[in-house]
């Protein structure tokens, strides 16, 4: 159900690694959590540094806001500016056109803490089972 070429966090971000560059977005589960994303805000400036677990932006649905946390630290190379105009892209294609930022990774050791698609799915099942 979740793309196998990506890594995941327990706070529902995904990471795609290509050499030293990590592309980061939010998972389809995060989108479903908020029902429908209607705004994307507070993305960092290209060139700025972000820290692991630091905020990398904010997504909003009707009357709800959710901080997006960075799973990795590094220098921001690019942000997806098209989301400002059309945040609905995230609802339609969270793993493709709905990416949030690209960073140049400072320290790849944080990658070891991320979950595989299978582990993420198991984590979600355990969350659901708590209810």
């Amino acid at each position: 159900m979740y793309p196998e070429n990506l890594k995941y966090t327990k706070t529902h971000e995904w990471v795609k690694v290509e050499d030293d560059v990590a592309t980061i977005g939010i998972t389809s589960y995060a989108v479903e959590q908020l029902i429908e994303i209607i705004g994307v805000y507070e993305l960092p400036e290209p060139g700025s540094q972000i820290e692991p677990s630091g905020s990398l932006g904010l997504v909003e649905s009707t009357k709800a806001s959710s901080d997006v946390l960075s799973p990795l630290g590094g220098k921001v190379l690019e942000v997806n500016e098209s989301l400002e105009e059309d945040p609905g892209i995230i609802n339609k294609d969270p793993y493709g056109e709905g990416w949030l930022i690209k960073i140049e990774m400072k320290d790849k050791s944080n990658l070891d803490e991320l979950l595989s698609a299978e582990e993420y799915e198991e984590f979600l099942k355990s969350e659901e089972a708590k209810k």
Partner: protein, 268 residues
């Protein structure tokens, strides 16, 4: 399940919002039990939604009228808390068996609010869905699943923030459906302002118009009983921890009073 019940009473505007954020951080950081907090306001306060455009707000008029202005952590649009309005906040996550998704979470909140209103003899019901887009800068005019109605008119509303999978719900029980808010907002033209005001009068009702004379204490008791019954939980009436108090004071000063966070450009 044990919950904390915290009665902050009459509290400063900035500290109220800062306390909610401190509770959210402390819940995630120190493994605290879930919390229901109730409060009122020492001064009328206009609160912007987390990402609301500051252009919606007439800061000069707010200052002239002695209205505090700040911005909350939760989504949505502007809301005016009057001195008599009753505020509540809930901090909880799936760690304590609560839903992970917004719609299910808000339905659970609505159930507790309906149960609380029942305690004071008011038959209320919840919204059936969400408005998809904001058109006007007034939070109460948008329907969300956690909103509560009496005879088709809105009596209570709430907005949500999600951080590290923990929900913070910030809510309002309207005591008196004052129209003062309309003087504090910028509308593109007078016709639109009149149209929105008409909608507001049709849609919003205060508790005082349904049952006169209900006090803060009445609502406190109704919430204490109503939430416990609806959620099958047990409250422990308690205080904020020292860590929460310290963080709240710091956030009130450095964030919620800060023009950079609020968006009041003339003070930046």
């Amino acid at each position: 399940m044990k919950w904390r019940f915290i009665d902050s009473g009459v509290t400063d505007s900035y500290l109220n919002l800062a306390t909610d954020e401190a509770m959210l951080e402390a819940y995630n950081e120190y493994n605290l039990p879930p919390t229901l907090r109730i409060y009122s306001w020492s001064k009328p306060t206009l609160i912007l939604g987390r990402s609301q455009k500051e252009l919606d707000i007439n800061f000069t008029e707010c200052r002239n009228e002695g209205i505090d202005v700040t911005r909350r952590l939760t989504g949505g649009e502007a809301i005016l808390f009057g001195r008599n309005d009753f505020g509540f906040s809930v901090v909880v996550s799936s760690r304590h068996g609560f839903p992970t998704k917004l719609d299910s979470f808000l339905k659970v909140i609505a159930r507790a609010l309906i149960s609380s209103f029942k305690e004071i003899g008011i038959r209320a019901y919840s919204a059936s869905g969400f408005d998809k887009r904001y058109q006007w800068p007034i939070c109460l005019l948008f329907d969300g699943l956690g909103d509560i109605y009496w005879r088709s008119r809105k009596l209570a509303s709430n907005a949500v923030a999600l951080k590290r999978s923990t929900f913070l719900s910030q809510g309002l029980i309207i005591k008196d459906s004052s129209e003062d808010l309309f003087g504090l907002l910028n509308f593109p033209n007078l016709d639109l302002k009149k149209k929105v005001l008409k909608e507001y009068r049709k849609k919003i009702i205060g508790l005082d118009a349904i049952r006169e004379g209900l006090t803060y204490q009445d609502l406190k008791e109704a919430f204490f009983l109503g939430f416990q019954k609806a959620w099958d939980i047990e409250f422990s009436a308690t205080e904020l921890t020292q860590k929460e108090l310290s963080l709240a004071q710091k956030l009130a000063k450095e964030k919620y009073k800060n023009p950079l966070w609020i968006g009041d450009k003339r003070l930046q």
